[in-house]
Amino acid sequence: MASKKGLIRSSIARKLAMALSALFLLFFLLQHLVINFTSVLSEDVFNSWSHFMGTNPIVQVALQPVLLFGILFHFIMGFILELQNNRARSVKYAMNKGGENSSWVSRNMLWSGLFILAFMGVHFADFWIPELVHKYVEVNPEDPTRYYHELQEIFHNPVKVGLYCLAFVFLALHLRHGFQSSLQSVGARNPKFTPGIKKLGLIYSIMVPVGFIFIALFHYLNSL
């Protein structure tokens, strides 16, 4: 008989937790893109949204820690699962043709995820850590017009823009499998909905990274 402890630690529970954190991050990415995209349309709109996100107590005290937890959980759980999965086959095949039955991206989520993790270190160093220092260490007075210029400063550097674009390519690869995989894990698969889910996943995994790449290139080209 399965114990309650077993239920929490079961492979399906781990899979479900991984999927739910992925779905949360998918939603976050979309709202991040929408807010960032306003920087292309209007400096004022971008500044007002950024000011709201940077000063609203619910966003700062409640949502930001949840987001951080979601990101950390997704990465840590991903590593744990990878280690467990590697342990399940001690002797490897002399000849294995994984490409005959599955996509490269689905078999290499760890590598695309690792690159995204490394990129997030750069991204946090560029935006989040200076933001924390600005607000909580230096305790500067809030200037609601500073956000657009901070964005432009980062995307002035061609090496950084190149790195961001490369990271979004890896993000696209990760999302290509991750979108439909997370829905499969929560049980959303049947002949009626699966073709639609796959199409939506394809659109999301291309459009969201392309949107971020467009924003980075837009600001870089504007700075020339």
Binding site: M1, S11, A88, R89, E100
Partner: protein, 248 residues
């Protein structure tokens, strides 16, 4: 056809094992893969060498015994067939063929190409059945009307022969496709509904105890399954598991 075979040889469960090369000639394209191995074994016996141990029973594609990983794929390069139904015409003259046992810690090698899949039996024992009184008063199953769509899905899930190709081919050695097929075939039918919650909880619990890996939805199992068991079964098992976890 002249071929070079690279075969995993392992004396017993404790032996480290290694790949050994065997040239073989005069192979007919209409031979099954297992018949080709029979020819090799006859040659080895004639020479006084130890024949290659491999599992087989029905040779009709339904027993699921022939657990061979051929040229990097479970049951070889053909689709929807077990090794006994794989024909040598699928290979080219002069080709080198790698033949390995199904690899997973939950499927320990017994000898050469023979693996112990009793972990699957223990998962079945944990709940892959319905409790029916068979003392003579059993109700005829056909007396309960069942929607055709559900009956077909249950039948398709029941086509799983438990060969283990899903585990062998999965990069994580996950047994989700096998367990989900067994869970689905009962969960879809009224006879199986009564014990559905305990079944899914206990079978998944046993699957985890056996040391299989976690499913990451690569879909390789569905492609390599000789009976075409669908990933929809895994999604159904996930739903069944979530439902059962919340209400038990």
């Amino acid at each position: 056809m002249n071929l070079t075979l690279k075969i995993w040889r392992q004396k017993n469960a404790k032996d480290k094992g290694k790949m050994v090369e065997y040239p073989i000639s005069g192979i007919d394209g209409d031979m099954s893969f297992l018949e080709m191995l029979d020819v090799l074994n006859e040659e080895l016996i004639e020479k006084g060498d130890e024949p290659v141990a491999f599992d087989h029973d029905c040779r009709e594609g339904i027993c699921g015994m022939c657990s061979l990983y051929i040229n990097g794929e479970a049951h070889g390069p053909d689709r929807l067939v077990t090794t006994c139904q794989l024909h040598m015409r699928k290979f080219k003259d002069g080709e080198t063929i790698y033949i390995e046992p199904f690899r997973a810690n939950a499927f320990p090698v017994v000898k050469d190409l023979v693996v112990d899949r009793s972990s699957f039996d223990r998962i079945q024992h944990a709940g892959g059945y319905i409790s029916v009184n068979t003392s003579g008063n059993t109700q005829d199953a056909n007396s309960i009307p069942i929607e055709k769509e559900k009956a077909d899905a249950a039948f398709n899930a029941a086509a799983c022969i438990g060969c283990g190709a899903c585990v062998a081919t999965c990069k994580n050695s996950s047994a989700m496709l096998f367990v989900s097929a067994k869970v689905s075939q009962y969960a879809l039918l009224p006879q199986g509904e009564v014990e559905a919650k305990d079944r899914v909880l206990n079978m998944v619990h046993q699957m985890d105890l056996e040391g299989f890996g976690n499913c990451t939805n690569t879909g390789a199992c569905e492609v390599e399954c000789p009976k075409g068991i669908s990933l929809e079964n895994i999604a159904r098992m996930n739903r069944e598991y979530i439902k059962a976890s919340m209400s038990k």
